[in-house]
């Protein structure tokens, strides 16, 4: 029985543990499109969402363990609503929220019994496409400020590989939804509407930009070309 475990080994074990947990779930992609930000997740459930509204122009998405990212989502909504109420609605931004998430995940990763098995996305739609922000936050608190698109989940490497060739900044939201359905699929057939959860931060909306695309609307978008 070993009496000493090196910090390197502890961190590596924790990271392996978190990565394994995340790899068990399904992946999610987010794109900055001409008319807003589109998030597409493989999720057969109609009620347990991976993508949600945080504030007027900010969305949240998570992969991995549902109860863990759901807890983070609620804390984010609370943080944003308190800030918006105490100051003004325009003072709520994705960067501050991403930092708070990063600190929280970093704390849990080093101090708690087990790390969170989650990766999360904080996305903020800007006035123009150049102002769109996609913060990808890992289980250990690492924050990546992504440009154009980002992929969360165990299959990220494969999906990034196929997305890189097909994503262009001049996609509109319909094109982004179709690209998402295609790249999340492991074979050549795009995923059907029934196994997708799609949300859209609409750049043209004046206040709450978040909306879900589902049902007939989603089917129509997937069938168009």
């Amino acid at each position: 029985m070993p009496f000493y475990v090196s910090p390197e080994q502890v961190m590596k074990d924790r990271a392996d543990y978190a990565r394994k947990g995340i790899a068990r779930g399904r992946s999610l992609v987010a794109f900055s499109a001409t008319d807003g930000i589109v998030v597409v997740a493989e999720n057969p459930s109609r009620t347990l969402y991976k993508i949600s509204e945080i504030y007027d122009r900010i969305a949240f998405a998570g992969v991995g363990k549902y109860n863990e990212f759901e807890m983070l989502r609620i804390a984010g909504v609370r943080q944003a609503d308190i800030k918006g109420y105490s100051f003004a609605r325009e003072d709520v931004n994705a960067r501050a929220l991403a930092n708070a998430y990063a600190q929280t995940l970093g704390q849990v990763f080093t101090h708690e019994m087990k790390p969170y098995e989650v990766e999360i996305l904080v996305a903020q739609v800007g006035a123009t496409q150049e102002d769109d922000e996609l913060f990808h936050i890992l289980y250990d608190g690492t924050v990546v400020d992504e440009q154009g698109f980002t992929v969360l989940g165990g299959e990220a490497e494969r999906i990034i590989e196929v997305t890189r060739d097909r994503y262009t900044a001049d996609l509109d939201h319909g094109g982004a939804v179709r690209l998402g359905a295609a790249v999340l699929s492991t074979d050549d057939t795009p995923l059907p509407a029934a196994s997708l959860e799609v949300a859209f931060l609409d750049r043209s909306r004046t206040r709450r930009a978040f909306g879900r695309i589902r049902g007939d609307e989603l089917t129509a978008i997937l069938e168009a070309s």
């Binding site: 804390a75 109420y85 105490s86 929280t104």
Partner: protein, 272 residues
């Protein structure tokens, strides 16, 4: 998780979907004042008051309207005050009474409804929203006892029942559902009488908007604290319509046109 900058709570202490309970735990000083302090019986200064508001049910929903005048004693404190606000996409709230606490209450109410929607992933029922507002008025009771009474109207489209509903409140947070319409504030009696004489079941949206304007006009005619249409400055009542498609503020130009017709009619001896 004590080190986290995000608000987390132990399971017994979790505020759930209530924003008011959340604020009470993390930033209680940001809640609206609930007491003037010092055992004050009444304020030593003139308090700004919002005056007349109306809500009228019609065939497809409800119309809410309010005049623009705020008074402090016998002074006009504000000519452009807005007293009708969206509570969320499918309901509105109009305020009468002490303006400061009333505006705070509306702001908190709006966040409370949106917060619930985001945390729970669905809208509160219309009845649930009406009860939430009653809770906020009840929390204002110590202020009401010191003369800072807030008496809003709440109205909205009830998606589950498929028609508009109107709720009124008393200073203690008592909540009363009105069958067809209600008007409160200093000119409320005059407005209500006018509506009572003209209201009919199944009114159209246009007729209900006109009736709301006439009722406010009647109130302004009798009550010095209620402002009528101000043609010189181009200030007209705020009117909102809430139906199946949600809350829509009627554009100022539309209200101005209607007010001018109304005033024209009066000069010819019809109406008022």
């Amino acid at each position: 998780m004590n080190e986290s900058p995000l608000p987390f709570f132990a399971s017994g202490d979790d505020p759930g979907a209530s924003f008011v309970d959340l604020l009470r735990r993390v930033a209680p000083d940001h809640l609206p004042a609930s007491d003037l302090g010092g055992g004050t019986r009444s304020t030593p200064f003139e308090v700004t008051h919002g005056t007349t508001i109306v809500a009228i049910r019609y065939a497809d929903g409800v119309v809410m309207a309010g005049d623009r005048r705020a008074t402090a004693g016998s002074t006009i404190a504000n000519r452009r005050m807005e007293k009708v606000f969206p509570a969320d996409d499918y309901s509105g709230v109009a305020i009468a009474g002490a303006a400061g606490p009333a505006v705070d209450m509306v702001r908190l109410f709006q966040v409370q409804l949106e917060h619930y929607e985001k945390i729970e992933g669905e809208l509160l029922s219309l009845e649930g929203k009406a009860n939430q507002l009653a809770g906020l008025i009840r929390a204002n009771l110590p202020m009401a006892m010191q003369g800072m009474v807030v008496v809003p109207l709440f109205a909205g489209y009830d998606e589950r029942r498929g028609h508009g509903r109107v709720f009124s409140y008393d200073a203690l947070g008592g909540r009363y559902e009105e069958a067809d319409f209600q008007a409160t504030g200093s000119g409320g009696v005059h407005a209500r009488n006018w509506i009572k004489a003209q209201w009919s079941e199944g009114m159209t949206r246009d007729d209900a908007v006109d009736l709301a304007l006439r009722a406010l006009f009647a109130a302004a005619d009798e009550d010095s604290a209620t402002g009528g249409p101000d043609l010189i400055r181009g200030i007209y009542p705020v009117v909102a319509v809430i139906d199946r498609d949600g809350y829509v503020a009627v554009p100022d130009a539309d209200i101005a046109a209607r007010a001018n017709v109304l005033i024209g009619g009066r000069e010819e001896g019809a109406g008022l």
